[in-house]
Amino acid sequence: MTTLNTASAGMASTSGAAGSESAARSQGASTSASISASTSASSVELRNITRTFGAVTALSDFSLTIEPGEMVALLGPSGCGKTTALRALAGLEDINAGTILIDERDVSDLPAYKRDMAMVFQAYSLMPHMTVRQNLEFVLKIRKISAVERATITDRYLDMVGLSGHAAHFPHQLSGGQRQRVAIARALAVDPKVLLLDEPLSALDAKVRVQLRDEIRALQLESGITALFVTHDQEEALAMADRVAVMYQGKIAQIGAPQDIYERPESEFVARFIGQVNDISGTVSSQRATTAFGSVPVLPGSVTGAATVLVRPENIAIEPAGTGAPASNVGIIEQFNYLGSVASVAVRCGDVLINAQVPARDGQHLVLGSAVTVALREAPALAV
């Protein structure tokens, strides 16, 4: 639960900033009824949501609670229902059963335009016929904020995303990354209860993606807003979220802090979906799995007896084999890929191919075709 503490600690330290911001706003505000005077973020609860499209079940008894100020990622393969869940929360999709609560108020029957949220789409978020400034002022006008206020808020948020110089530009004059920044500024400018992001980075180039990832996270922490975002990119989910919910076929397979998801998967699906694993046969008894390459503790949720142990590549230790009779844990390096910061090494032991990942400098003395010993590091693994 460490990450949640960090989140609440983060919120505590930023709520001061958020508070002063809100206070400053309400000082100059006239009819800004939609901007809450309180500084607390909203809680979100999706309870037992079911959504079917004819014979297809998109969401099946789906439940999720988002703490105030938390950023949760919905991660999963296509068709798992993550976008449906996001849109159901936004009110853009109906639900067949279940309840949606915001700040403990039932909003399930409220239409989208009454839910006081803001959404950022993968693309085409911005109105093409309005300039950047007009895009922001448009949504502020819907919230019935006075013209003077609108200008001030627009300036402030454009400044926050570093696009003040582009206020008079049209969306088609901006790059993809800039457009998304404007979309996020616009979403934050209305001070919504929840920020919703539907694969916001999927349409961008890799480098821009990484940069924007950090910016979005920083903005979310600074404003202390509750956020839910959907992605199919694991790295993105792990890097940005306070908690990650891995979804599969309309249900949450596992939800937890990124570290928990990665290091302590509770099911084979999650273990395989996140990162990479090696399948190593072994025997499980009394909380440990014994394999040809060593023995490791097993995670809760593992089976007992004969099993396949799922070991991550960075938990495989490789050493050049000394001379001597080949042991059961010796193999030949079949592939060696230098990737810059790490090296990906594939070792053939008998009829098993083990994928290991070593820091590049350690990999310098490993040669293609040479014999190496394979050992498992002392890290818990899931046995299935």
């Binding site: 079911t50 008894d61 853009l92 109906d94 067949n96 059963a97 249900k251 939800i255 084979e268 014999a371």
Partner: protein, 334 residues
């Protein structure tokens, strides 16, 4: 190795996965505001469809009714249809003009499509391959006939056709095809432009040329098969234009389907009605077929069979260290 798709999701008791799909008893069932909006939209669409289909069908039905029901007396018979399906016989010589017009129009369809393809396709391919220089010019010229009314064109074509009829060729109606090619340029250009845009023309041509293919081979065996849909679309649209063309034929005093219909209406209006119905129905079917051909879902690509599994199980000799082969720098002739 089992894939996660086929694997049952295990969950410890404290996990949030439930295997049952049933709705928990206390989860309220929702009405669905979006679904209601969708239903309203579908209802609106259906009403509009109905009204449009009615409006479109009534004239057609009237044509058929007119063709079997003699207007003045109200007597119903299939005389008009019998006359049409009897074809070109000595019995109904009054329809000779109609058959002449129809034949001319059909021949002109063929000639126009051929000229259009031979003129436009190589030109458009050449323009795309040789950079952007002439693309704006070709596009402008091809869309110009949309803006120059046929009546205006025919005023300028009159002296030209006088020369063609008397000095170069004869006065047969089929030479109208030359002018028809101009009329079909906008439709054909758009269709073929869309088709050429969808393929990577430069790469295809360069690849074929690098294997030594002649330009004719490139055009016929590489380009044409890849834009078949666009070519069919351009041809069908051109046929539709030629079949429905009236202004040029009338003002240049040539016989085609539409002028013949006009004339036959004066003597036997029921035949004219029947023929009009057939022409309209045929043209619609032509376009529907064209649309179906153009928008057929692409066939799923055949799975590549790997006949021999790459053998990676062979052990590499541990005593040898393998080094990457030295790259041989090729001497190039240029």
């Amino acid at each position: 190795m089992s894939t996660y798709a086929s694997h049952v999701v295990h969950g410890p008791e404290h996990g949030s996965v439930r295997d049952d799909v049933t709705v928990t008893p206390d989860a309220p069932v929702r009405a669905g505001a979006r679904a209601a909006a969708m239903r309203r939209q579908t209802a609106f669409r259906r009403v509009v469809y109905l009204v449009s289909i009615l409006l479109m069908a009534v004239p057609l039905v009237s044509l058929v009714e007119y063709s079997v029901r003699f207007p003045l007396t109200g007597a119903v018979n299939l005389d008009a249809w019998r006359k049409i399906f009897a074809g070109r016989t000595n019995e109904y010589t009054t329809l000779d003009n109609l058959w002449l017009g129809l034949t001319n129009s059909l021949i002109m369809c063929l000639i126009t499509v051929v000229i259009m393809l031979v003129l436009l396709l190589p030109t458009m391919v050449w323009v795309r391959l040789s950079g952007k220089k002439f693309s704006r010019f070709v596009e402008f010229v091809c869309l110009l006939p949309l803006t120059i009314p046929a009546v205006v064109l025919v005023v300028g074509l009159t002296p030209i056709y006088r020369v063609i009829s008397t000095q170069i060729l004869n006065s047969s109606a089929i030479w109208l095809s030359f002018a028809y090619v101009i009329l079909v340029l906008p439709f054909s250009y758009r269709a073929m432009d869309a088709g050429l845009r969808a393929i990577d023309l430069k790469t295809l041509v360069e690849a074929a040329r690098s294997f030594g293919a002649s330009w004719l081979t490139v055009l016929l065996k590489v380009i044409v098969p890849n834009i078949k849909g666009a070519l069919v679309s351009a041809s069908f649209l051109s046929c539709a234009v030629v079949l429905g063309e009236f202004t040029l034929a009338r003002l240049l005093a040539k016989d085609n389907l539409q002028t013949a219909l006009f004339v036959i209406n004066l003597s036997d209006s029921q035949v004219a009605a029947a023929m009009s119905f057939l022409a309209l129905a045929l043209t619609t079917i032509l376009l529907v077929v064209m649309d179906l051909i153009m928008n057929r879902a692409p066939k799923a690509p055949k799975k590549l069979e790997v006949s021999k599994k790459l053998d990676v199980s062979k052990k590499l000799d541990a005593s040898k260290t393998y080094r990457a082969p030295k790259k041989r720098v090729k001497e190039t002739s240029r």
